[in-house]
């Protein structure tokens, strides 16, 4: 394995470690939660039902 490959693997491991640490601490900032998915569902239902009645 060349020096370049070694450096690349090191960098990849470093980046993976950052994410592993976030995962271990469950420190995902801005993670989509139940509120987001419910909001999404309500928005979709309101738009689809509302415009179906108005124009469908």
């Amino acid at each position: 394995m060349s020096e370049r490959d070694n450096g690349w693997s090191r960098e990849l491991r470093r980046r993976i470690k950052v994410y592993d640490e976030i995962d271990a601490k469950n420190d995902w900032h801005g993670q989509m939660g139940a509120g987001d998915y419910w909001g999404l569902l309500v928005l979709t239902v309101v738009l689809v039902a509302g415009f179906s009645v108005w124009g469908g």
Binding site: L12, R15, Y19, M32, L43, T44, G55, G56
Partner: protein, 478 residues
């Protein structure tokens, strides 16, 4: 830190930006509004006028606006969930992430099917739109008749492709400059067109207008076809938005701006295209824009639309060829940048010369792409949310494919491929985009939604049953 270290770190950051490595949260610069602006700029393009015009063929403005909202909101949400949420969490390039669903070679196959063909088709359609804009503009100035299938259009369309090739070959800086100018200007053009249309017709008159060429007597069927065209428009963002989402700071920032940017901006443009086409009696924006406000307005609008088309073409050509180099073999990466761009343009050039009527039936091409994109979205949702419970193995995605847990069989995940085929077959069985023939269930379910659901279900069930053992995706058990 030495100069060598700094240069090396910069090299890795560049590699991460290109997608070779996952971007770290600190390297991702886009917040909510930056991403909203970026994907609004992508969505506000001339194709929105075309799609709106196509909707006007099937239904009148009231039903058309409803179809635009319903189709786009569902399509954009089902597309953004499996692409932007993982990208926002891990900063991973979309087609690298796709290795977890299809394997490294399967991901390449999907890239060719979903990105290369889609982009080549759009390049041909937009170049023809450029040609027709120039033809309409010269006809307005000379007082003659426009000839949409004449040699002038073909020559101008070829010129548009070659101009796009030249701009993109120069590098991304020129494209960024055009984007900064064109997107806000297109918003102004849309506002201006809307003003001109509303100055001739009241809102009530517009809403009472009829469709231009409804294919069936059954109004519900025509409405559902209009919804399907818009679902296809929403799903057609699948190849592009994941790689924009990875530049944002987190999942929420990667997801929600799509609702304002992609959904809102595209819907606005389509509504203008719809109202213009129905009010002026022609679905082709290069025709109705020439009639909406007299010679001077027509010349300015068509000249601008021609120019804006080149910007849209440059955006998609650049994005697709960058991606092609990322996922391509060593031989593809060895081809010179300008030569690779030109090779990409050969098929659109052939389409322009030998299939100029593609422009008038472009929505058929758009709807065909949904047979694939809706299935891809379904597989992505089943895999990332239900099978993997939102966890990816970054080492497996970026490490040696020969030892990766995502190597599957020869680099292909046969389960993902089967699910994709099932989704495609379900789509065509429910609704044939070429002939517009459909089964009775189409009126209640559309075709994209059954395709999305079937592909996701097949992927989920077959994975649960068969994906066991090392190298078969490392799916969590229990």
């Amino acid at each position: 830190m030495t100069h060598t270290d700094t240069t090396e770190q910069q090299g890795y950051r560049d590699a991460a930006e290109r997608g070779d490595l996952p971007l770290l949260p600190a390297e991702r610069l886009w917040g909510f509004w930056e991403f909203t602006y970026a994907n609004s700029a992508l969505a506000i393009a001339t194709w929105a006028f075309l799609i709106g015009g196509a909707v006007g063929l099937f239904v009148g403005p009231r039903e058309g606006i409803a179809a635009i909202v319903i189709g786009n909101i569902i399509g954009v949400i089902l597309t953004a969930l499996p692409t932007c949420v993982p990208a926002g969490k891990y900063g991973v390039e979309q087609f690298n992430a796709l290795r977890s669903q299809f394997g490294p070679n399967g991901s390449r196959l999907v890239y060719f099917l979903a990105v290369v063909f889609l982009t080549m088709g759009w390049l041909a359609v937009l170049s023809m739109m450029f040609g027709r804009s120039i033809d309409g503009l010269t006809a307005l100035v000379s007082g003659g008749e426009a000839a949409p299938l004449g040699p002038k259009v073909t020559i101008a369309a070829i010129g548009a492709i070659l101009l796009t090739w030249f701009v993109v070959a120069k590098g991304p800086t020129s494209i960024k400059f055009f984007n900064m100018v064109i997107s806000p200007a297109l918003v102004l053009l849309m506002g201006w067109m809307m003003y001109l249309i509303l100055s001739h017709h009241s809102f009530g008159e517009l809403m009472a207008m009829q469709a231009l060429a409804p294919p069936f007597e059954d109004k519900t069927l025509n409405f559902i076809i209009a919804v399907e065209v818009n679902l296809a428009a929403g799903f057609s963002w699948w190849p592009y938005i994941g790689n924009l989402g990875r530049l944002t700071r987190n999942e929420r920032t990667a997801f929600w701006p799509n609702i304002i940017g992609i959904f809102g901006a595209a819907a606005l443009g389509e509504v203008v295209g719809l109202l213009g086409s129905v009010a002026l009696g022609n679905s082709d924006p290069t025709i109705w824009m020439a009639q909406v406000g007299g010679v001077a307005v027509g010349v300015i609008a068509l000249g601008f639309v021609a120019f804006a088309n080149v910007t849209s073409m440059a955006n998609i050509l650049y994005t697709s060829v960058v991606g092609l180099r990322q996922i391509g073999t060593r031989a593809i990466r060895g081809i010179r940048w300008d030569m690779l761009l030109f090779l990409f343009c050969v098929v659109p050039l052939i389409l322009v010369v030998f299939y100029p009527t593609m422009y008038d039936g472009f929505f058929i091409f758009l709807v065909w792409t949904s047979a694939l994109n809706s299935a891809l979205a379904g597989i992505g949702i089943a895999d990332y949310f239900f099978l993997r419970r939102q966890k990816l193995d970054l080492g497996g995605l970026h490490g040696d494919p020969a030892t990766s847990p995502y190597r599957f069989a020869g680099g292909f995940n046969p389960i993902g491929i089967v699910a994709l085929i099932v989704g495609f077959v379900v789509y065509v069985a429910v609704f044939n985009p070429q002939t517009l023939e459909s089964v009775p269930a189409f009126k209640y379910l559309t075709a994209s939604l059954p395709s999305c659901f079937a592909a996701g279900l097949v992927h989920y069930v077959l994975t649960r049953i068969f994906a066991k053992g090392e190298g078969w995706g490392n799916y969590p058990r229990g």
